[in-house]
Symmetry: D2
Subunit: 299 residues, 4 copies
Amino acid sequence: MKLGMIGLGKMGFNLVLNLLSHGHQIVVSDLNLERGEQLAQQGAFPASSVEDLVAKLERPRMVWVMVPAGPVVEGVIDTLAGLLDEGDIIIEGGNSHYKESIARAERLEPLGIHFFDAGTSGGTEGAEFGACFMIGGNREIFTTIEPLFRDLAVDQGYLYAGTNGSGHFLKMIHNGIEYGMMQSIAEGFELLEKSSFDFNYEDVARVWSNGSVIRGWLMELAQSAFSKDPKLSGIKGVMQSSGEGKWTVQTALDLEASTPVIALSLLMRYRSLEENTFHGKVVAALRNEFGGHAVVPDN
Amino acid sequence: MKLGMIGLGKMGFNLVLNLLSHGHQIVVSDLNLERGEQLAQQGAFPASSVEDLVAKLERPRMVWVMVPAGPVVEGVIDTLAGLLDEGDIIIEGGNSHYKESIARAERLEPLGIHFFDAGTSGGTEGAEFGACFMIGGNREIFTTIEPLFRDLAVDQGYLYAGTNGSGHFLKMIHNGIEYGMMQSIAEGFELLEKSSFDFNYEDVARVWSNGSVIRGWLMELAQSAFSKDPKLSGIKGVMQSSGEGKWTVQTALDLEASTPVIALSLLMRYRSLEENTFHGKVVAALRNEFGGHAVVPDN
Amino acid sequence: MKLGMIGLGKMGFNLVLNLLSHGHQIVVSDLNLERGEQLAQQGAFPASSVEDLVAKLERPRMVWVMVPAGPVVEGVIDTLAGLLDEGDIIIEGGNSHYKESIARAERLEPLGIHFFDAGTSGGTEGAEFGACFMIGGNREIFTTIEPLFRDLAVDQGYLYAGTNGSGHFLKMIHNGIEYGMMQSIAEGFELLEKSSFDFNYEDVARVWSNGSVIRGWLMELAQSAFSKDPKLSGIKGVMQSSGEGKWTVQTALDLEASTPVIALSLLMRYRSLEENTFHGKVVAALRNEFGGHAVVPDN
Amino acid sequence: MKLGMIGLGKMGFNLVLNLLSHGHQIVVSDLNLERGEQLAQQGAFPASSVEDLVAKLERPRMVWVMVPAGPVVEGVIDTLAGLLDEGDIIIEGGNSHYKESIARAERLEPLGIHFFDAGTSGGTEGAEFGACFMIGGNREIFTTIEPLFRDLAVDQGYLYAGTNGSGHFLKMIHNGIEYGMMQSIAEGFELLEKSSFDFNYEDVARVWSNGSVIRGWLMELAQSAFSKDPKLSGIKGVMQSSGEGKWTVQTALDLEASTPVIALSLLMRYRSLEENTFHGKVVAALRNEFGGHAVVPDN
């Protein structure tokens, strides 16, 4: 098939390599033109702009958008809305909030443009060699784009999830689960580290990756990380987050769902951004007030 | 009444002042003899040792033990067990684990020594001017010592709680609740601190201490703390703990009781003891592995 | 002073009684005219409508709005915006989200109407006999209305908190703390209930209300509740919530603040709305899958 | 190799099948003699008692104990201590607390009996077709028994973990991680269930099992569970636990390690054992006291 790919970052770039390897024709575009040129050497057709990209496609045009969520993706879709025609298809593969995806689909519908929200998981490696896709949108039109996902995904690694928003909703929940699983694994290794035993963490992650109940890709990644830095001494315990965990907890609040583990995984990330907390100061001050317990001075 | 007080630390010392102010005769003993001499100036009778203290009392003797929990209190009670006789009374007012109090009562029973476990709350100020006591032991014998508690406690601030161990059990749970309440208050002030408003925390604690649903002594103590250091800038957010919160959570595990807030209050204290965590390193490493997310280097 | 009170529910009604007892002249209005007539017997001037209420006041008019947050208060303020003039004052005393209060103040400012967001705590009893108020708005204009709060509040029970929104922000955080404190107390009593001791909970709440570190109004309310129903056997463990706890957690997420105890207090409320959970089914099913552990059948 | 297997429950039985398939000679014993006879048909040598089993082995004897943790395993090891000689080997493969394993090793050492604590993961299926083993004990002697684990485990699925206790410690932590991962997955599906989308959970678990970041055996088991009961309508949300999660949290308390997610996973299991909670009653009663909020009556 022939399609356009807008956004050639870590994920978009690798998806193009993956698509090219399956014989698709890909017109590519990125603000950084070098990225497109690199892909041209692999057989992609570089476009100089979104307009140029659209011009290089045939109707019904198919455009995959793989740019940062928020204003960037909003801008790209606005531009596409002005360039595409009835029957054309947009696949939005970034980490957008599912409510925005629903709104976009509703905005594009009167124009006859079919919108799909495609949550993508599997990391940059997955993007190139086989990832996992959760797609929301019109079920019938989906059959048109299904071959793309069949090629991009690992076996059974794509799902038509339902109406618009369902793809990004599933991806959001996936990330919420991911937060919980990562924190679970991390707490386990913290207990090993604080114990009086002398474990080799790479070995532990390896044995847990082979035959145990908790085996899975995250444990394999832990093995890989420990193989490079046995005690992770070069990495500070600062746990950044990029939004989907927060959205999951916000969604839990809206649904009145009790999700303590996902919520705590997020709150511990926030906690890790600070070395000294105001709540800690308050508790220390209160202990001093009622019991005369010494405080640690802050310099 | 006449009784002995062993242990003249912050709490024991003030309890003696309180008892003296109510006209009781107190024989006092502490490893630090100066403490006894200070109290002698207030009318107490200093003893040079536990043996001397027991010798200075009349039968049935009453001895209040107010020393650190664990081996110290164990040693004092062992000594007393060898010195006291049938019908004598020991009041153990420290922060012992309730199971130890049950064991002590059982050990002293064949000797005819009546043992009471008295949980004490109210801080050092309360010890002097009126505190809160939760007492476990023999209900009939309790009437003998009840006048002491009537004098030491604020109005209705003492309770015969039940059989041995119930006093220290109640005190333990009290402290568990205290952990949760302190963390709740502290989280509230953290949100104020992180907000874009410019609150005066002493004023806030004052208004919340007057007429609000969350008024209480802890809020008054917060007001006091903020009056001395408006932003608590001199205090580090390190939250120590002295054992009873941990016992409460252990008890919850044994009772299969779901007490997330008390448990989290304790776990956040442990978290505050570290600036950099191993679990944080693991999560950061995993994010780097699957998504290429940058880590913060640790120097 | 003379002012209008719109909304004569549990809180508004009692605030009027409180104001009347301090010699203020109050024009009252409620959709339920009977409420106004009841207050007329206490000396209030009933108005038949918001328009009538405004007409019965003199410039600069002062109107206190005490109606449910959300669309109701929005409607009342819209109406008032059309009736009031430059220099008039609106005090919004309900449980509105602080961001809405900021928006309302901004909307009324061009009209010259001064808007104050007044968070109110202390329950219905406090409304009548002395409550706690946190007020946001213009600092100079606040001096005009300060005498009202001086009369309505218990000693030092009111605070000019800062610019618009700060009053409702403080009230929101107050409620977040309240959630945490209530859950802490409740978990403590659950541990008593699950223990092998035989405590009288009214007695326990009483002793903890007298001299302990955790004394405060909530503990006194616990005492009152247990005095009516010693084991709370008539009350189901369903913990409703009315929004401010949720807003507090949402705010924590927006501020990237780690507030595990307030968050868990809310999540346990949500948990209590269900007898059977889907997450429980999933865990039970997984245990069955890997270990053959028996599940409890659902009928 | 020739060895004895004591305990032919779900795990022990399958381990014997696994060992037989690799050509080992296994003497088997169980209180239920039928189990041994079943295995005799597969080539095992049934023993009528532990004494008989020991008699059927040659020195240095190797005995694998696979019986319930606690008093049962204690009894079996006591018996073996009286029957085995210097140089013999005991492998304890159950879910014992690591501190008990350390104690057992110390007790057996003066007798010259080598003790190994072998944590086993992988479920009953893994026991038969390849599981995961974490083994603590003497490193040199371990080489003697290593061929057994090489045969029983999946590739790289066994680890000499360190001194005695380290095997069961690792298994305990593994289970703690497992609790957290299961709760994470379960919360994710609860959010799907409460959403307004109409997901097919088997499909979701399948797509997440293929190429996603959260792929792993637990997700595959979720897929299997949903394939049998699409909404798990036949399973009640009661989450039992068998001890290792509790031990993990107790260990965290002892190590002063902040492990909120593992702790909450356990506490939510306890919460699931009750439909109506006492803490819920207390919160509902308090809300009624201060705000007049209605309670749900308990019948």
